[in-house]
Symmetry: C2
Subunit: 242 residues, 2 copies
Amino acid sequence: MTYCVGVLAEAGLVFASDRRTNAGVDHVATVKKMFVFERPGERMLVLLTAGNLAITQTVVSLLDEDCAQDDGDSLMSATSLFRAARIVGDALRQVHAHEADHLSQQGVAFSASLLLGGQIKGEGPRLFQIYDAGNFIEASAEMPFLQIGEAKYGEPILDRLLGTATTLPQAAKTVLLSYMPTLVSNVSVGLPIDLMTYERDSFTTGQRWTFEPRDGYFEALDAGWSEGLARAFADLPDPPLG
Amino acid sequence: MTYCVGVLAEAGLVFASDRRTNAGVDHVATVKKMFVFERPGERMLVLLTAGNLAITQTVVSLLDEDCAQDDGDSLMSATSLFRAARIVGDALRQVHAHEADHLSQQGVAFSASLLLGGQIKGEGPRLFQIYDAGNFIEASAEMPFLQIGEAKYGEPILDRLLGTATTLPQAAKTVLLSYMPTLVSNVSVGLPIDLMTYERDSFTTGQRWTFEPRDGYFEALDAGWSEGLARAFADLPDPPLG
C-alpha cells in the first residue's frame, strides 16, 4: 500500500507521499509516488499516486508523453486544474481500457487513486482526488485535505489538528504527524516520505524534503509526539470504577 | 459498522463495544453488541459482535438456545475458552450454511466477526477473535488486544499506549481513547459505548458502564485528550523549512 496526503490551506498546498511499495510481503521496494509538472511563473502541478504500481506508472508515463508532444491537451497546457484533473482521469480510463480485462483474468482488481494539486495562472490553488473510475472530487475549505491509500490511521489527526495549523509549516507538521500512526500500525507504509509545500501564487516548486530513515527532524517529531501522547494520557482521569 | 475491542491484560480483561448500527445512512439505530454468559464463581464469558446484524443476532440466538437446553456442548458447559470459541465458530458456520446463498443472491456478502473473552475455572483469562469463516485466533502477551469492525482509526492508540497501562482502569481508559479517533472520523461508530472490565479469577461480571451521549466522564476524557493533543502538537518544532 501507500499513504499520500494533500492539503489545501489558505497559504498554499502541502503534499506528502511515502515510498513503500509491496507486492506481497516478500516483495517490498522503494519507489517515488510524487511527480511534479511545472512551468515556473505559470503553473505548478503535483501528482501523488496510490494503488497498483503498474497502473499508476503507466498513467504517469502517458501524462509525460502527452506533455512532451503537447497538442494543447496536456498537464502543461491545461487552462485550469479542473481541466488537468480531467486529463488525469482520462489517462486512467485509457489504462483501464487497455489493462482491466487482462488484470481481471488474473484475478487482480483494477485499483488506482491519485491526488492532483497545484496552481495554474488565472486561478487559486486547487486540489483533486481522482478515483479508479477516472471521476474526481475537489478539496474545499470545508474538506481541506484528501488522502489516498492507507488513509484511516492518519485521518483522525488531520481531522483534529489541521484546523489549528495556520501556516504552511504547521500544516506540513500535521501531515507528517498523520504518518506516525500509519507507520506504527501498518507495515505497508514506510519511510522515506516525500514532502512538499507550495506557497500560493509562487507558481514554482516549493520547499521539498525527503525524510529518510533516521532523519533527525522526523525522529525528534516522532519522539516528541510519543512523549506528548503519553503525557496527555497520564493527565487524564481513570474511568469511574466501582 | 461497529467498533469493538477486547484487551487481555495481566490483571484481567477489558471489553468495549459501541451501539451504532446502520443499514445505509438512512437507517441508523442503536443496538447492543455485548453479550454476557456467566455462572458466578465458575465462568464469565463476554461476546462482542460486528458485521451483518441479522447474522450476528442469529448466532447469539443459537448460542442462547444451546445454553438453555444444555446438552454439554454450550458456552455454559464448555470446559475451556478454546472449546467455547469453537462453539461460537460452529454457530457462525451453521448460520453460513443457512443464509449465505440467500444473501449472495441479493448481492450481500456474508460478513460477521466476533470477539469472545473471559475465564473458565481451571485456566486463566483468554480472548479470541472469530472470523467470518468460523476460524479464530487468540490474543497473547505479544498481541494483547483484538478489534473487530472499524478497527484502523483506534489501532494506533492501542499500539502506542496499551503497554503503559498497568491497571485495568488504565487499560479501560486506553480502550475508551481508541474510540475518540473512530468517533471523530467515522459516523458509522457512535455512542452509547458499553464497557466492561473483568478482574482475573473473579469469575463474575466485572465493572460495567454504558457511556451515553453527554456522559460527564466521557466528555471530560474527550476534552482532556483533545487539549493534550493540541498541547503536544504546539510543543513540536516545525519542519526544517528552507
